[in-house]
C-alpha cells in the first residue's frame, strides 16, 4: 500500500527520473536481444535492426507505461494551459475584455465580503473565542435583560456549565474632553480573554478592590491615534467624566474588546458608582444591571449551557413574585464582532443579492463573449470532434480557458476591492456629520485567509458560470454535416444569447428601480415636515453630579446667544420614546408614547399649542398631574370630543410602580393639545399618540435643549469652551440636534448610494453586453443583410430591423424586471417601516433609463448594418 503511494508520488514529482529509468530498462533489454542475435551469428547491424523490429514501437511502449503512472491528468492540464495561453495571445481584445469585466464584478463582491468577514466571520483576537457567550435573562415580556452584581457573584461559585466569567458595563464617556467608548470590567477580564499588554500591564483583580487607586488601560489603537503612541503614557492621569484615572498599561494590538464597536479604554467595575449616575451596583432595591460574558466548560455545548442557565435562574429567583420571575436564559456567541443570527442574514440578504446579481450580469456578458468566440472556432472544434476527441476532453479544455481568465481577474479584483474599501471608509468619514466623525469606530477591514478563499471560490464559480454553457454548446458534434465535409459544430447559440441579454436587462431594471425607490424615500425623509424646528438647537447631556446641572444652567442663562432653554427626558431623534398604557372612558386600553418636557420645550422647538395652554413654571417645579397630548392621542382616546379637561388614567405595572416617574401622574388632567410631530426615531409614524408631562430643567435624567442664534455649529463650540472653563465637568456630551437627525438619516443615504452605484455598474455592463451581442449579430448576418440591401431594402429599414431586435429583448427584460421589482418592493415595505412600496416615479424612471440605454446601445451596430455595402457583404464568407 505504501509502495503504491510512493510510486504515485514519484510519478507526480519526478517524471523525468522515471522516464530515464524506463529508457535504461528498455535499452538493457534491447542490448540483450542484440547480443542474442549476434550470438546466433548475425552481424551487429543486422542484429540491431532485427532486435529493434522485435521490440516494436518504443514510443507506444513508453506511452502505455506512462498511462499506468496516472500522470495523464497532469499532462492534460499542462497541455490545456499552454493551448489556452496561446489562444489568448492571438485574441488580446477578447482576453482583456473578459478579464476586465470579471475583475470589476469580483472586486465589488470581494469588497462586500471584506466588510461581512470583518464583522461577522473574523474571530476576535482572544483565546478560544468560540467558547465565549454573553448571558441574558429573559423576563415575562420576552425582553432580554442583564444581571445584578449579586447574580454575577453567585454565578462565579458554580462551575457546572461555565468555566470562567466576567462582568462589564459599557459606557460612552468624555475622556479628557473628547468622546470615547469604554468598559468597566471585573478584575479577571483580561485573564479570562487571554489578552496581554504591549506596554505596562492589564487590569488585575487587585484593581477591583474597593479603594484601590483607579487604573485605566488604553486600547492599542486609541493609544496610537489619540495619544500619538506616546511611550511615556504610563502613569499619566486621564479624566473620565471628570474623574482622574491613572494609565497603567496599553492592551495588545488588534484587541478592541468584544462586540462591534472597538473600545478605547478599560477600567475597573468597582469605579461604577463613581462614574455612572443612577442606581448603584450594590443597591438592594434596584441595583444597576451588569452584562456577563462566560466561557463554556470544555465539552459543554451552547444548548446545554442555555438549559443550565435557565434552570439556575429559575431556582435562584424561585422566591420572587410570579411577575418578576425570569422565564429563562439565553446565550449569544461573542466569537465574532457581530454574531451571525437569522435577523442579520435577513437584513443583509437583499444587499448580498444585489452584489451577486451584478456578478451574474458580468458573467452573462462574458458568456456571450465566449459564445461569439465559440462561433469563430466552430471549424476547429468540429474537426477535433470528428477526429475522435472526446467531448468531455474538449469541454475540459474550454473550461480550463475560462478558469485561466478568471484567476487573473480575481487578483485584479482583489486590488480593486482594497482600493474600494479604502475609498469607501474615507468617503463615509467625509460624509457623516462632522460632529459624529470622532466617535465613529470601524472594525479594521484587513484581508485575511477567508477573503482569499472567497476570491478563489468566486473565481472558479464565475468561470463555470460563464464558461460551461458556451463550452457545452460549442462542442455539439454535427455528424451529418461532418460526413458531408462541413466540419462546423452544430452551434446555434441564438436562444442562449437572447436569454442572457434578457436576464441582464431584467437584473438591471430591478437594481435601478430599487435604487430609485431608496432615492425617493431618502429624499422624502430629508424634506419631511416633521413638525418641529430642529435647526438652531443644541442638545446637552449633563453629568449627574451634585451641582453640575445648576452650574451648566447658570452658564447657559448667562449667554446672550442662548435664546431659550428647554429640557426633555426624550429629545427628538434620540431613542424610541417609552410607552405606557392608558385607559379611556370605555375602559379600552391604548398604548401611548410619553415624554417629560419643560414648559419652554414647545416654544423652543416651535411647536404650536393648538388648543388650551402650555405648562406653567409652577407645574414644572411641582410635577403637577397635568398633561399636554398630541392630536393623535386626542383622536384615539376622545374621538369627536374636546380633550381639554379630560383625565388620562394610566395603568402602571405594580411591580415597578415604586420607582416609576409616572407614579405621581397616574391620573392627569389635559390642559393643552399639540399637533402630531416626529418622535424619537425618524421612521416611527407621526400620528402615534404621545402625551407630555411637565418636568423642571433642574430635574435629573433630562437632556437640555438650547435654542441659539447664529451659526449653530460655531455657537455650540463656543458654548462648549465656555462650559469647560466656567462649569468644568458639568456636561457629558454636546451636539447640535441637526447632527442627530443626520445620523438617523445616514443609513438610508448609504443604502441609496450603494444601490445607485450598483445600478449604474449593472447598467454599464448590460449596455456593453447588448452592444457586443448586436455587433456580432450584424457581423454574422452580414450576408443576409447584404441580400436585403441588394434587393431594395433601404438602409433605414435594415437599421430598424436590427434595432427592433434590441428593443424586443429590452422589452421582455423590462417586463420581467418590473414585475420582480414590484415583488421586491413589497418585501422591503414589510420589513422597513416608512418605505412606500409603489413609487411610480422610481418605476417609470428606471424603466425609461433602461429602455433608452438599450436603444442607444443597439443603435450603433444597427447603423453599421444600414451602412453595409451590399456587394462587400455578399462577397464575404
Amino acid at each position: 500500500m505504501l509502495e503504491r503511494l510512493r510510486l504515485r508520488l514519484r510519478a507526480l514529482l519526478s517524471p523525468r527520473a522515471m522516464e530515464r529509468e524506463l529508457d535504461e530498462e528498455l535499452r538493457y533489454h534491447l542490448d540483450q536481444e542484440i547480443a542474442r542475435q549476434v550470438a546466433r551469428g548475425m552481424t551487429p547491424e543486422a542484429a540491431t535492426a532485427a532486435a529493434r523490429r522485435a521490440f516494436g514501437n518504443t514510443t507506444q511502449i513508453r506511452e502505455q507505461v506512462r498511462d499506468s503512472w496516472g500522470r495523464r491528468w497532469v499532462e492534460r492540464i499542462e497541455q490545456d494551459t499552454r493551448y489556452a495561453l496561446r489562444s489568448f495571445r492571438r485574441t488580446p481584445v477578447f482576453s482583456v475584455g473578459v478579464v476586465a469585466t470579471i475583475a470589476l464584478a469580483l472586486g465589488l463582491n470581494t469588497t462586500a465580503f471584506t466588510i461581512f468577514d470583518a464583522y461577522v466571520l473574523r474571530p476576535i483576537a482572544v483565546r478560544d473565542p468560540g467558547s465565549l457567550f454573553q448571558l441574558s435573562l429573559i423576563d415575562r415580556r420576552g425582553t432580554r435583560n442583564d444581571f445584578t452584581w449579586t447574580d454575577f457573584e453567585a454565578l462565579q461559585t458554580s462551575h457546572e456549565a461555565f468555566d470562567q466569567s466576567f462582568a462589564f458595563h459599557t459606557l460612552f464617556a468624555r475622556v479628557d474632553s473628547a468622546p470615547a467608548f469604554g468598559q468597566l470590567v471585573t478584575g479577571n477580564y483580561f485573564t479570562v480573554l487571554g489578552v496581554g499588554a504591549t506596554l505596562g500591564r492589564t487590569l488585575i483583580p487587585a484593581d477591583a478592590v474597593p479603594g484601590a487607586p483607579p487604573a485605566l488601560v488604553l486600547s492599542h489603537a486609541t493609544w496610537r491615534s489619540r495619544f500619538g503612541g506616546d511611550s511615556a503614557i504610563l502613569g499619566k492621569i486621564i479624566r473620565v467624566r471628570g474623574r482622574p484615572l491613572r494609565v497603567v498599561g496599553v492592551a495588545a494590538p488588534g484587541f478592541g474588546g468584544l462586540g462591534d464597536v472597538p473600545l478605547d479604554f478599560w477600567a475597573s467595575l468597582s469605579l461604577y458608582d463613581d462614574l455612572v449616575d443612577g442606581d448603584s451596583l450594590l443597591s438592594s432595591r434596584h441595583p444597576a444591571p451588569v452584562s456577563i460574558v462566560a466561557r463554556l466548560q470544555p465539552g459543554v455545548t451552547a444548548k446545554q449551557g442555555e438549559a443550565w442557565l435557565t434552570s439556575w435562574l429559575r431556582s435562584r429567583h424561585a422566591d420572587a413574585p410570579e411577575r418578576e420571575r425570569p422565564v429563562g436564559g439565553v446565550l449569544n456567541s461573542r466569537a465574532t464582532a457581530t454574531p451571525l443570527s437569522p435577523e442579520l442574514v435577513l437584513f443583509f440578504a437583499p444587499l448580498a443579492a444585489a452584489f451577486i446579481l451584478v456578478l451574474l450580469i458580468a458573467c452573462a456578458d462574458v458568456a456571450n463573449m465566449m459564445l461569439a468566440r465559440g462561433l469563430a472556432r466552430q471549424r476547429e472544434l468540429g474537426i477535433r470532434l470528428s477526429l475522435g476527441a472526446g467531448r468531455r476532453r474538449l469541454v475540459a479544455q474550454l473550461l480550463t480557458e475560462s478558469v485561466l481568465l478568471a484567476v487573473p481577474a480575481a487578483l485584479i479584483g482583489f486590488v480593486l476591492s482594497r482600493l474600494t474599501v479604502d475609498a469607501g471608509v474615507r468617503f463615509m468619514f467625509a460624509t457623516i456629520p462632522a460632529e459624529v466623525a470622532p466617535i465613529m469606530h470601524v472594525v479594521p477591514l484587513k484581508p485575511d485567509s477567508r477573503i482569499f478563499l472567497f476570491m478563489l471560490v468566486a473565481a472558479v464559480g464565475s468561470a463555470l458560470l460563464f464558461g460551461l454553457a458556451p463550452a457545452l454548446q460549442a462542442t455539439k458534434p454535427n455528424i451529418v454535416q461532418a460526413s458531408r465535409g462541413d466540419f462546423d459544430t452544430d452551434f446555434r447559440p441564438q436562444r442562449l444569447r437572447n436569454a442572457l441579454v434578457i436576464g441582464q436587462i431584467t437584473v438591471c431594471v430591478l437594481l435601478l428601480i430599487c435604487a430609485g425607490i431608496l432615492l425617493r424615500d431618502g429624499g422624502r425623509l430629508k424634506r419631511l415636515d416633521i413638525g418641529l424646528d430642529t435647526h438652531g438647537i443644541v442638545r446637552l447631556d449633563l453629568q449627574e453630579r451634585p451641582g453640575a446641572r445648576e452650574r451648566a444652567l447658570a452658564v447657559l442663562r448667562d449667554r446672550p446667544d442662548v435664546q431659550l432653554i428647554a429640557a426633555a427626558s426624550d429629545p427628538p431623534f434620540g431613542r424610541r420614546f417609552p410607552t405606557v398604557t392608558a385607559v379611556d372612558s370605555n375602559q379600552h386600553a391604548h398604548q401611548l408614547f410619553y415624554d417629560f418636557v419643560t414648559a419652554s420645550y414647545f416654544a423652543a422647538l416651535r411647536v404650536p399649542i393648538t388648543r388650551g395652554r402650555g405648562f406653567i413654571d409652577e407645574e414644572e417645579r411641582s410635577g403637577a398631574p397635568v398633561a399636554i397630548v398630541s392630536a393623535g392621542t386626542a383622536r384615539a382616546l376622545w374621538p369627536g370630543r374636546d380633550p381639554i379637561g379630560q383625565t388620562i388614567r394610566l395603568t402602571l405595572d405594580p411591580a415597578t410602580a415604586a420607582h416609576d416617574p409616572l407614579a405621581s401622574r397616574r391620573t392627569a388632567r389635559v390642559v393643552g393639545i399639540v399637533p402630531d410631530v416626529a418622535l424619537g426615531t425618524i421612521i416611527d409614524p407621526f400620528d402615534s399618540p404621545v402625551v407630555y408631562y411637565p418636568i423642571a430643567a433642574t430635574a435629573p435624567g433630562t437632556a437640555l435643549l438650547a435654542r441659539v442664534v447664529g451659526n449653530t455649529g460655531e455657537t455650540m463650540r463656543r458654548i462648549d469652551t465656555d462650559l469647560t472653563q466656567r462649569a468644568p465637568a458639568s456636561i457629558e456630551d454636546i451636539h447640535t440636534l441637526d447632527a442627530y437627525a443626520a445620523v438617523g438619516l445616514y443609513p438610508f443615504q448609504a443604502a441609496y448610494w450603494i444601490a445607485g452605484a450598483l445600478g449604474v455598474i449593472a447598467l454599464l455592463l448590460t449596455l456593453a453586453g447588448i452592444y457586443g451581442v448586436l455587433s456580432y449579430v450584424v457581423a454574422q448576418r452580414g450576408r443576409e443583410l447584404g441580400v436585403r440591401l441588394a434587393i431594395g431594402a433601404t438602409p433605414r429599414e435594415v437599421t430598424r430591423l436590427i434595432l427592433a431586435q434590441s428593443l424586443r429583448l429590452a422589452g421582455i427584460g423590462l417586463g420581467i424586471g418590473t414585475v420582480l421589482a414590484l415583488g421586491v418592493a413589497r418585501l422591503f415595505a414589510a420589513n422597513i417601516v416608512g418605505l412606500s412600496t409603489f413609487e411610480p416615479a422610481a418605476f417609470a424612471g428606471g424603466a425609461m433609463l433602461v429602455l433608452l440605454s438599450s436603444a442607444l446601445a443597439g443603435y450603433l451596430p444597427a447603423r453599421r448594418a444600414g451602412r453595409l455595402d451590399p456587394i462587400e457583404a455578399l462577397r464575404a464568407e
Partner: protein, 112 residues
C-alpha cells in the same frame, strides 16, 4: 525446417498471470522473463515485448510486484521485479479463475 507452430497472441489478463507465476520462482528482469516464457512454453508463446513492459508497470502500480535496480549476470544494471505478498495472493486467485475457465471451456467443447 520444422513447421513452426503458429504463435498464439496473448491476452492482457493472461500475460499478467504468466508474469506473476514466473516471478514466484524468484526475482527476474524483463529480458529474463521473455526468455523464460519462450523456453518454458517451448516456443509456442512469444511475448510481444511492447506489451510486457506496460504489463510489468501495471503490476507494479497495483502493488503486486516491486521493482529495484540490481546488477545482472553480465554486471549491467537492470530492473528486477519481485513478487509481493499481495501478488502471491493475486496469483492464486487468478490461477483459480483460469482453471475454472479452462474447465468450463472444456465442458462446452466436449458436449455434443
Amino acid at each position: 525446417m520444422p513447421k513452426k507452430t503458429p504463435k498464439i497472441d496473448l491476452l492482457q489478463g493472461t500475460l499478467d498471470l504468466i508474469v506473476l507465476k514466473l516471478l514466484r520462482a524468484g526475482p527476474a528482469n524483463g529480458w529474463q522473463l521473455t526468455q523464460s516464457i519462450q523456453a518454458i512454453s517451448r516456443g509456442v508463446l512469444d511475448v510481444n515485448y511492447g506489451s510486457l513492459y506496460p504489463a510489468l508497470r501495471r503490476l507494479e502500480a497495483r502493488g503486486w510486484v516491486t521493482a529495484s535496480w540490481a546488477a545482472s549476470e553480465n554486471n549491467r544494471r537492470a530492473r528486477f521485479y519481485q513478487l509481493t505478498a499481495a501478488g502471491r495472493r493475486q496469483l492464486d486467485a487468478e490461477r483459480a479463475a483460469w482453471e475454472r475457465f479452462a474447465e468450463a471451456l472444456g465442458l462446452i467443447l466436449a458436449a455434443d
